[in-house]
């Protein structure tokens, strides 16, 4: 209270602080909080902004873990979520209620790679006095800086491309500092930021700082009390990863383009969901928002049965069968039986997932080797 500084490593730590400032600089924000995982970052954002009785409008194309949190777990604590087609802007507006406190989506949906129209969703959020939170895990600041497009808060699973090697678990919650929590018609919605907090010397965070109110509350309550902080050694590993982020992302994207092009022409593949392909519904939007590339994670569908899908994955040698993404190594997964296992058939269908959907995370290997591996596995599966 009397002086700034590090008091206890759950609250803040010098190594974590370097990472927090660095991701803020890369995103063009004002600051960040490093968390134990991407899930912890999402949870921290939500519980900082709202309490029981609040409501979220979220894209229905989300990472399965995020969907679990919003659809199954938070309702137990009185926070409800309405899921909408991220491409249907009217649906976002229709879903907003007087209890809504947040709009949430992924810059690239999981696993269908729906490109979130961040500028337009941000505009409609702001028109209703609400902030937009985006999960930018698939894009990283090298492919998109969501704050430039109007987003107010960003979460990352730093486990993925930011660390880059699948060696640590971590999350980041970044604040743009742009949202005016104290604006007329807004302040009543966010009493955690605009009214005295008895748990921290009656501080009114929006008075303490015009720009950093959200971060102050998130650290002084959310990290303090929920405790999902990042270990300093993890921060060190993620900082190491970020040092090579531009080099790795360029290679990830180049490889992903090559693989998507190969699969698109293969007779055993029915469709490839990569936004840089003209067949993807968000191709034009991707060109505008993601000029450096549409990432390195995408899905495709086999022309075959579920059994053939299993044979395809088992025949791969270079690709690792893992639920992770954003690793230096190429990864493959069957979402319907793994990452999105708990979703109902209807939810799967609405998220664009079928039993034949295969998700790839393209790594940094020689792309000819990757094509050879895929080619051989496709041949094995198609027999």
């Amino acid at each position: 209270m009397e002086r700034a500084g590090h008091v206890y490593s759950r609250l803040s730590n010098p190594t974590c602080a370097v990472l927090e400032e660095r991701i803020a600089a890369l995103e063009g924000g004002i600051g960040a909080i490093a968390t134990a995982s991407g899930q912890a970052a999402l949870h921290l954002a939500i519980v900082t902004l709202m309490s029981a009785g609040s409501h979220i409008v979220a894209s229905r194309s989300l990472y399965g873990g995020s969907h679990n949190l919003l659809d199954y777990t938070l309702p137990r604590f009185g926070i409800e979520t309405t899921f909408v087609d991220p491409r249907d802007l009217d649906a976002w507006v229709r879903a907003i209620t007087p209890k809504t406190r947040l709009l949430f989506g992924e810059t690239l949906g999981n696993p269908g790679l729906e490109v979130l129209d961040v500028p337009r969703v941000a505009d409609l959020a702001h028109a209703h006095g609400l902030p937009l939170l985006v999960d930018s895990t698939f894009t990283t600041p090298w492919l998109m800086q969501p704050f430039e497009h109007g987003a107010d808060l960003v979460v990352h699973s730093a486990t993925k491309f930011l660390s880059g090697h699948g060696t640590v678990i971590g999350g980041l919650l970044v604040d743009s500092g742009k949202f005016d929590w104290n604006a007329d018609g807004v302040r009543e919605k966010f009493p955690t930021l605009t009214e005295p907090y008895a748990g921290f010397h009656d501080m009114v965070f929006a008075e303490e700082s015009s720009t950093a109110a959200f971060l102050l509350r998130a650290r002084r309550e959310g990290v303090r009390d929920f405790g999902a902080c990042m270990a300093p050694m993890t921060a060190f590993h993620i900082l190491q990863g970020i040092e090579t982020l531009p080099v790795r992302m360029a290679r990830h994207v180049e490889n992903a383009r090559a693989i998507a092009g190969f699969l698109r022409e293969h007779p055993f593949v029915s469709d490839v969901g990569y936004p840089e392909l003209p067949t993807h519904p968000d191709n034009a939007l991707a060109s505008r928002l993601l000029p450096r590339g549409a990432g390195a994670v995408f899905s495709f569908n086999l022309r075959g049965t579920r059994e053939q899908g299993r044979r395809f994955i088992e025949a791969l040698r270079l690709f690792s069968h893992l639920a992770n993404v954003g690793d230096a190594k190429s990864l493959v997964i069957h979402p319907a039986s793994t990452t999105h296992f708990r979703m109902s058939d209807d939810d799967l269908r609405r998220a664009g997932i079928t039993e034949g959907t295969i998700r790839l995370s393209i790594g940094l290997e020689d792309r000819a080797d990757l094509v050879d591996d895929l080619s051989r596995a496709l041949a094995a599966a198609s027999k």
Partner: protein
């Protein structure tokens, strides 16, 4: 807290403590295109140590209504009106940059009201480059970028050095300036540029004065404060190494220690 000056609502941050006219009072006066938040770390300390810490939003800035005063002299008179509005006999003034000039001029004009005067990053004169004035007049974002680039010492520009954990100093400073309504930065900078009475005002300051300088201040270089310091009758000077113009963020503890030593909390 909120109160009225000249028909306009004034907001001041008091470190969550209630204002008590029976206690001593310190007014914190921010610089161009800033608000009370730049003094959050320092003002909060005093607020919790028996002092009315009143970190003002200047007119037209932050949450205070009205037009941004067009001159340092007008700001000085507004500070005088603030003291009257608060219903206290005297205050100490802590001003930064433009706020330091206003505090200096106020102390010269109203010597009976000012117990102690602390000037952070002052300069007399305080010339502003023609290019920066033009960019600010055009509400060009480059004006904020120039100020931000010049306001932090090189060491502070590296990510990871902020004493406030997890906040990137440059990003936070930029966002604060961006919140300022169009035209306010131009008005503030023009007021700095036009103010020619700094040294003369210093000769009329009768209260003890503290001057805090950043050794790496490019916005208000140390050499531009020398004549001012020489003209003050009762002055002590603190120079902060490896520090730029945004000293309250760059060196919060050192600035606080200098103020504590001077103001006596």
């Amino acid at each position: 807290m909120r109160f009225d000056v000249g028909g306009n609502a004034v907001y001041a941050y008091t470190g969550t403590r209630p204002f008590d006219a029976k206690r001593s009072t310190v007014l914190f006066v921010h610089g161009a295109a800033n608000d009370h938040g730049v003094f959050a770390l320092q003002s909060r300390y005093f607020a919790w140590h028996g002092v009315n810490a009143v970190a003002l939003d200047l007119p037209g800035h932050g949450r205070s209504a009205g037009e941004a005063p067009a001159s340092v002299e007008a700001l000085a008179d507004w500070l005088h009106d603030v003291v009257d509005a608060l219903g206290v006999r005297e205050v100490s003034l802590v001003g930064h940059s433009l706020g330091a000039l206003a505090a200096l001029e106020c102390a010269a004009r109203h010597p009976g009201q000012i117990a102690r005067l602390a000037l952070l990053g002052p300069s007399a004169p305080m010339p502003v480059s023609a290019d920066l004035l033009a960019a600010a007049a055009a509400n060009d974002h480059v004006a904020y970028e120039l100020i931000n680039g010049w306001s932090f010492a090189p060491a502070s520009q590296l990510s990871g050095g902020n004493r406030l954990p997890g906040v990137w100093m440059l990003g936070n400073a930029m966002r604060l300036m961006e919140r300022t309504p169009d035209g306010v930065l131009a008005t503030d900078l023009a007021a700095c540029n036009a103010y020619a009475n700094g040294v003369e005002a210093a000769k009329h300051v009768s209260c003890p004065t503290l001057v805090v300088l950043g050794a790496r201040d490019v916005m208000a270089p140390m050499r531009n404060a020398k004549a001012l310091i020489d003209a003050l009758a009762d002055v002590r000077t603190v120079t902060l190494p490896d520090t730029g113009h945004s000293m309250m963020a760059e060196r919060p503890d050192e600035v606080l220690d200098a103020l504590r030593s001077f103001l006596g909390s």
